[in-house]
């Protein structure tokens, strides 16, 4: 199986799931993101986007948190294969 590359969270569409690979440490916010549950290893699911496409609602560690695209972009995830197959 080819090694999966983590992709930015913003590339996921509502309904897709993944596992967090890394959070960009250069982002000033990454401490708070960690405390909110966005840490490597956490399962994450994209629930929905706001009517104007931003912010986006995520489910992580049984909590529903909304982030703007600019913050979500520094979270990298491994997209779950099942979700990949399903969306095809």
């Amino acid at each position: 199986m080819a090694k999966e590359q983590p992709i930015p969270l913003t590339h996921l569409e509502p309904g897709q799931k993944g596992r967090i690979a890394a959070v960009d440490p250069d982002h000033q916010f990454h401490h708070r993101l960690a405390d909110l549950g966005f840490v490597p290893g956490s399962e994450i699911c994209v629930l929905r986007k706001a009517p104007l496409k931003d912010p986006i609602e995520y489910e992580v560690r049984n909590c529903r948190v909304c982030l703007r695209r600019s913050e979500a972009g520094c979270i990298y995830v491994f997209l779950h294969a099942a979700a990949l197959l399903k969306s095809k």
């Binding site: 405390d35 290893g41 699911c45 706001a50 489910e59 909304c66």
Partner: protein, 655 residues
């Protein structure tokens, strides 16, 4: 541990008197963990709100009684996502726990409140608090919900693994409260946590530590609750959600328009009756005047608004506690982003439509200082309750009661237009602020969407009572003082009435007295400054008077134009104003001048910061006199220019 050197009562600024020998426990947990419900269950009615020194954060403390009869003090610390504090509130929580908050004695232990359904996120947070070395008791809330959602956790297993007492709670049913009290009662349970070294310092490692523990004792619930999922599929739907949001907002503003006036009228009637009652009991003269025109009028101008403000806050509190408010924040956030703010500012501004005082205080929920300041500075542009009597009077007197296209009420449209003008101005000024004076990167936005929950009656009551009380206390004291001052300046100095004036009758005498009172003289002094706006000295006096509270101008106009007894009531005043509002220009075109003055006055009230109470609260919330002064001067300048333009434009169009 607190030293037991005997009972010692002390008071610090704005705090509650406490006894040093009473044990103190802090409730700590993330927002939405059920902490406040637990606090209410434990303390019942024995809780008070105060302030921490130097910061605008509410200090919630209360007394709980344990089975043994011992009373303990509980302190409900602000919700926190991390021991590395980001917002002012989180800093307060950490300061109190570390014993570094002046006026706040150290706590004897922590009651860590965690929502069982999201333990996967709160367990690492618990870990960081265990490292403080204080005794910790774990209160797991929503244990009924986790079971209903197919998850499982057993508090006594956590106890085994972590080494701290743990109890399961169902907050709104009071289950587990007694168990918690029993634990707090047993000294052997409340021991300092000693295994800090086993808990990692670094956040990612702490999550791994937590996952390890969770693997042993926890089965996560299914995601979401059926109610929340179904509701959000509509309420957060790109089309339906927006429609619902628009409907909710319409309902909110409809409540203001439709119910504000009748509620105010009712209260005015009450206050009027009291005034009349006193007039009947107390003989005519200075005493009667100070009682009726000073005190009753002053207190009246505050009390009149209470029902309406309470109503609006019932709506807002309901939305907040059910969980809808965070959804509104989510929906509106992008548009707020165009201004440079985020969705939370919108929620704070909604409160300002009742009264800017709780509205400005609502800005405490905004973590970023620049966003918060911007939100506070433009709050007075939102059309508050006090502007309504002014608008209503002038619109009723000067705008014909016509219907446009058979459906739209012209008077209603003008009212709505004034509301819109205030709101749009606020948005523009906020944008300019965030691009100029208050520009810069801010704390990134995030909002948690908790599951929808039915709030407890007690929580609702507290949510409504707090802003109403703040209005009464802050506005009440300032307005009462200002009203008394106003009464003095309008009543004194007492003049000897020349016989020529006396011969003209009661109204002429009253007018003469007013003209030569301190306020009247002042009004005539600054009249030239306001003349370009179409305001004569009488209106100018009214403007100065309404600095105490905007609606005072209605009463002041009533006093000034008291040509007949009829003018004492509003409908009489409405009839009189078109001919009396300005008396400089008579003959043909006089109507146009009156209309121009009326519109100019309306616009002035849209933009001017005519409220000393707001200035006082602004100073308190921003920590500096600089901001209220700046806001006042800026809004005054804006009002002046806008009024001037309105006056000139109206005259140009009408003549």
């Amino acid at each position: 541990m607190a030293t037991l050197s005997g009972p010692r009562k002390h008071e610090s600024e704005d705090s509650l008197p406490i006894l040093a020998s009473i044990r103190r426990f802090a409730l700590v947990g993330s927002p939405n963990s059920g902490k406040s419900t637990l606090f209410n269950s434990l303390t019942g009615l024995r809780a008070k709100v105060a302030n921490y020194p130097g910061v605008t954060v509410d200090r919630l403390e209360g007394i709980a009684r344990l089975p043994s009869g011992e009373e303990i003090e509980l302190i409900d610390l602000p919700g926190i996502y991390s021991s590395e504090a980001l917002s002012v509130e989180e800093h307060v929580t950490m300061k109190v726990l570390r014993g570094e908050m002046p006026g706040c004695p150290p706590v004897d232990g922590i009651i860590f409140v965690a929502d069982a359904t999201s333990l996967a996120r709160s367990l690492p947070l618990l870990g960081s608090f265990l490292k403080l070395g204080l005794p910790v008791v774990l209160a797991l809330t929503m244990v009924d919900e986790i079971k209903a959602r197919g998850g499982a956790v057993r508090p006594h297993r956590i106890q085994d693994v972590l080494g701290i007492p743990a109890v399961g709670i169902v907050g709104n049913k009071g289950i587990g409260i007694d168990d918690l009290k029993a634990i707090l009662d047993s000294p052997e349970e409340i021991q300092p946590f000693r295994s800090s070294s086993s808990i990692p310092d670094e956040v990612h490692e702490r999550f791994a530590w937590a996952d390890d523990i969770l693997g042993q004792i926890y089965r996560p619930p299914r995601t979401g609750t059926p109610l929340t999922d179904r509701a959000d599929s509509i309420l957060l739907h790109p089309v339906l959600g927006v429609i619902v949001f628009a409907l909710v907002m319409t309902f909110f503003f409809q409540a203001i328009f439709a119910w504000a006036a009748p509620l105010q009228d009712f209260m005015e009637g009450l206050v009027g009756s009291i005034g009349q009652g006193i007039s009947a009991l107390v003989p005519d003269g200075l005493l009667q005047s100070i009682l009726v025109d000073g005190i009753v009028a002053g207190v009246g101008s505050v009390v009149v608004f209470i029902p309406q403000i309470a109503l609006l806050f019932i709506l807002l509190t309901l939305m907040e506690q059910i969980g809808y408010m965070s959804r509104a924040v989510f929906l509106i956030d992008r548009m707020m982003g165009w201004i440079g703010l985020d969705g939370r500012s919108f929620v704070a501004w909604l409160s300002s439509y009742a009264c800017a005082i709780p509205g400005i205080m609502a800005a405490r929920s905004i973590p970023d200082p620049r966003n918060r300041l911007t939100t506070i500075l433009v709050s007075p542009f939102m059309t508050c309750s006090a502007r309504i009597p002014v608008y209503t009077l002038l619109i009723a007197a000067f705008i014909p009661a016509k219907t446009i296209f058979g459906v739209l009420n012209l008077q209603g449209l003008v009212m709505m237009g004034l509301y819109l003008l205030g709101a749009v101005t606020a948005l523009v000024v906020a944008t300019v602020l965030r691009k100029g004076l208050l520009r810069g990167r801010t704390i990134p936005f995030y909002v948690e969407l908790p599951p929808y929950r039915i709030p407890t009656g007690r929580a609702l009551l507290r949510g409504v009572w707090t802003p109403v009380y703040r209005f009464i206390r802050r506005a009440g004291t300032v307005i009462l003082l200002a009203s008394l001052l106003l009464w003095v300046t309008l009543t004194f100095p007492r003049m000897d009435i020349p016989s020529a004036i006396a011969a003209q009758g009661e109204e002429a005498v009253a007018s003469y007295q007013l003209q030569n009172s301190a306020a009247g003289r002042f009004g005539r002094l600054i009249e030239p400054f306001f003349e370009p706006l179409g305001f004569d000295w009488k209106i100018t006096v009214g403007l100065v008077a309404s600095l105490a509270a905007r609606e005072v101008i209605v009463a002041t106009l009533g006093q000034i134009y008291a040509t007949e007894a009829e003018a004492d009531n509003l409908s009489g005043l409405t009839k009189i104003l078109p001919s009396q509002l300005q008396t400089v220009h008579t003959g043909p075109g006089a109507e146009a001048y009156s209309l121009a003055t009326a519109l100019s006055l309306l616009i002035f009230f849209v933009f001017a910061l005519q409220c000393v109470s707001t200035l006082v609260v602004m100073r308190r919330e921003t920590g500096s006199i600089r901001w209220p002064v700046t806001a006042f001067l800026f809004m005054f300048g804006l009002a002046y220019i806008a009024s001037l333009l309105t006056y000139r434009l109206t005259l140009w169009l009408a003549l």
